[in-house]
């Protein structure tokens, strides 16, 4: 379970303070596929980066399974990060490593022996349907295949949670569907909790059981996807959910 309690983040740029997250409260339960939707600049990436402390909150706390992790550093922090996989919009694969070496990178960091790493790597490539690409390099793969590799990499350490920051935003709609199906399969078969950031309502509709709507640094609404889609309470939610008017 992930709880964000009164989480705020302020960036100070040239003496001017920008509040990017303003007292955010959010609860993600185990087994959720939790969507966080908002327009560009709303603070989605910053929010998700606070969960594994890639970004340090200015105030408030992040509780993982009831334990406040905001004070973590060093060994404790890297152990925590091992339990949380992350998937990025532009994949962020290592160009000079083979697909297999990319997938096993998190295990290399933990200094697992080679044979163990490779066995796990092959298992994961099988899961994402890329076994025959083990010795290819990222540049030889399509965008969809690269994102599958990065999902496999995120799973390497048997994490209980995967954070996806716009995992499908760089992909066409057909490829998006197959990647979303993979994420849902991972959630259902491996029981991995997924936090999915997106600006596309269709992503939420397809795979998220819960959703939070973020606008201008605040969560304006959160709950079960079905309920929010059928009965949005907030103006921003309606705008995000409905067809955005062309003239607006």
């Amino acid at each position: 379970m992930i709880e964000l309690a009164d989480l705020s983040k302020t960036f100070v740029v040239k003496g001017v303070a920008h509040t990017v997250l303003d007292h955010v409260n959010l609860t993600v339960d185990d087994g959720d596929i939790f969507g966080i939707i908002g327009i560009s600049g709303a603070g989605k990436s910053t929010l998700v980066r606070c969960i594994n402390l890639l970004e340090r909150p200015t105030s408030g706390s992040v509780l993982i399974d009831g334990v406040d992790i905001t004070g973590y550093s060093g060994r404790q922090l890297s152990d925590l990060r091992c339990r949380i996989g992350m998937v990025f919009q532009d994949f962020n694969l290592f160009a000079q490593r083979t697909v297999l070496e990319n997938v096993t990178f998190p295990l290399e960091i933990r200094k697992d022996p080679r044979h163990k790493r490779e066995a796990r790597g092959r298992e994961l490539l099988e899961l994402v349907g890329l076994s025959e690409k083990a010795h290819s390099y990222p540049a030889q793969l399509s965008g969809g295949q690269q994102q599958r590799v990065s999902i496999a990499r995120a799973l390497a350490n048997h994490p209980s949670v995967i954070l996806c920051d716009e995992a499908t935003s760089a992909l066409d709609s057909l490829t998006t569907n197959s990647v979303l199906k993979l994420l849902r399969q991972i959630n259902q078969e491996l029981g991995v909790t997924i936090v999915a950031i997106t600006h596309e309502i269709s992503v939420v509709q397809k795979i998220c059981n819960k959703v939070a709507i973020i606008d201008d640094a605040r969560i304006v609404e959160q709950g079960l996807t079905a309920e929010i889609i059928s009965n949005p309470q907030h103006e921003v939610s309606r705008r995000l959910l409905g067809a955005v008017s062309w003239d607006a």
């Binding site: 890297s78 083979t98 390497a156």
Partner: protein
């Protein structure tokens, strides 16, 4: 032609080898020193792995000062230091010190820019998997930046061939020494031209070899 080679062949060959030796040893030593400096400059930059404003600025100054002194002046200015370090300030041995001093800041900048090219995305991915600063430097930055570092190495080697020719003019031996002794003092243009041709071939060869190696190593283009 045959006569020319019979008379000057050995001289030119040993000059070429000396020049190559100076440039190669200088380049290797400059990388041994320059890679850590380049890594430090990258890692302590604002927003990088271990930002440290003061250290980064001072390091930047030192590197810039090193890079702004013309080699010919460095050559002369370093004579006492070279003598202290190597026991002599002349000959091929004496030339190594100024070559390394001149090349190290050059290499440090080159390594720095190669590492910067690696980009925040993969560094962030590595961080998100719990990698330590040391692991990110060796397993991500240096590994991903290797093709660029190799390209930089051939540029450094070529620059040092030029520098070592200059050092030759003050008694370091090698092709520069031959060109000056025969071409300038004895008006033997043919010997001077021969050294020029050898230098051109060396530079072209190193450039092509470096490009080829970088291309083979770089897994992005396939």
């Amino acid at each position: 032609m045959r006569e020319f080679l019979a008379e000057y062949g050995d001289l030119l060959l040993s000059g070429t080898l000396k020049t190559l030796a100076m440039a190669l040893i200088g380049t290797c030593a400059a990388y041994v020193l320059g890679i850590p400096l380049g890594v430090l400059a990258t890692a302590t930059a604002p927003g990088s792995l271990r930002p440290h404003r003061g250290f980064n600025m001072v390091l930047g100054w030192i590197i810039n000062i090193g890079r702004s002194i013309p080699f010919i002046i460095l050559l002369v200015a370093l004579i006492p230091f070279t003598r202290l370090l190597m026991g002599t300030s002349i000959g091929t041995t004496g030339a190594i010190v100024p070559l390394v001093v001149a090349a190290t800041p050059f290499v440090a900048r080159m390594v720095e820019s190669s590492l910067q090219e690696v980009g925040g995305g993969v560094v962030e991915a590595a961080l998100s998997y719990g990698a330590s600063t040391g692991q990110i430097i060796t397993k991500v930055m240096l590994k991903e930046g290797l093709p660029l570092i190799i390209r930089g190495a051939s540029i450094t080697l070529i620059t040092l061939i030029g520098y070592s020719a200059m050092a030759g003019a003050i008694g370091a031996g090698g092709l520069g020494d031959i060109a000056v002794r025969y071409g300038y003092y004895r008006y033997q243009d043919n010997v001077m031209f021969a050294t020029i041709i050898i230098l051109i071939v060396l530079v072209q060869g190193i450039q092509s070899a470096g490009d080829l190696l970088a291309r083979v190593v770089d897994k992005r283009n396939r």
